[in-house]
Symmetry: C2
Subunit: 196 residues, 2 copies
């Protein structure tokens, strides 16, 4: 029954926590957060500004963030959000929960099941495009590692955590690149004997 339990809407499973995580290092505005979610944390959990603003509203209503309006000169006012002690506690509780893997879904792998029935040329083109993209991503991640996370054993625990996320990204991209090479090696020969 639970009369008068929580009327507040439930919060996004993880985005809310990702936002709170981004606020660990200090208060930020929605705009700043949106840019943060285009890089760094956003490499592993992307979010659009629309989603972020809605989430910030909910998090404030819930009491996990404290909003403060800041007047600026030459720029529009902004609203800066800070973690509250309750928010901090909620975040810690979430970190302690077991995470669920979400199986990554990829169109391309489904399309591969159509080889032999459909034309392979577009798939080859797509895999070549991905090879370029992964190679760019890999270069970016490796540059970041070289510049900020060299010698991980000597880093602070906090930076070690971030390093491990980056390391996951690097391994991921490298693997994807290698797979692209393998796939092209197998599919390119099929291009000659074209399809009906």
């Amino acid at each position: 029954m639970q009369p008068f339990a929580y009327d507040l809407p439930c919060l996004a499973m993880a985005l809310s926590h990702a936002i709170m995580t981004a606020l660990l290092d200090g208060p930020l505005s929605g705009y700043d957060l949106a840019r943060e979610f285009d890089t760094s944390l956003g490499f592993f959990w992307h979010a659009s500004h629309q989603q972020i603003y809605q989430e910030l509203r909910k998090l404030s209503d819930q009491g996990w963030l404290q909003a403060r309006c800041i007047a600026q000169q030459g720029k529009p006012d902004k609203i800066v959000y800070a973690l509250t002690p309750t928010g901090r506690q909620t975040l810690d509780d979430w970190v302690a929960e077991p995470s669920k893997r979400k199986p990554a879904k990829d169109d391309l792998l489904v399309k591969l099941y159509n080889v032999g029935h459909s034309d392979v040329a577009p798939l080859v083109a797509e895999i070549r495009r991905r090879r370029e993209w992964h190679s760019g991503r890999l270069a970016l991640f490796e540059r970041i590692r070289r510049n900020h996370y060299d010698a991980p054993q000597r880093l602070s625990p906090h930076k070690q955590g971030i390093y491990l996320a980056l390391a996951a990204g690097i391994r991921q991209e490298r693997t994807s690149l290698e797979w692209c090479e393998e796939a092209l090696g197998l599919l390119e020969p099929l291009l000659r004997d074209a399809h009906p």
Copy 2:
């Protein structure tokens, strides 16, 4: 403006195409499809039976699948779906479209940004759990490869496509496993100097 355009609801971006892909090899019932999506194709694009039944309804309404009721003895009747020529064409068109990568979102990587602020013990436990899971998955995938996709160069093009999906899975799992080892190597030493 487009008056009287399509009144039919838009179809699931990829699940509909995944279902049609599964029907390339012959007609199947919703139940059969649901089992298919627990293995093989489902390794790369999972779907629940609820989702599948709804999608089948839409695909039939759209004219991309043909439903036929089959009476059985000792078992409930079943509805078997087959690709129509229009469906087949739609599928081919989809394969030829460029795919969009969806950046995989993973709670765990976000949680790693909390190291140094929250307790690492639950993260270490989570990574150990994942190590076991990935290792099981890898063993499964490698068994399938050994049994059905040995010597990929000699396979038919259709099987080569499926092989490549499997190969992506194998590389993925291997990479994840290696990452788990690296992460545990870095985080386990932090367990002793425990947290406030």
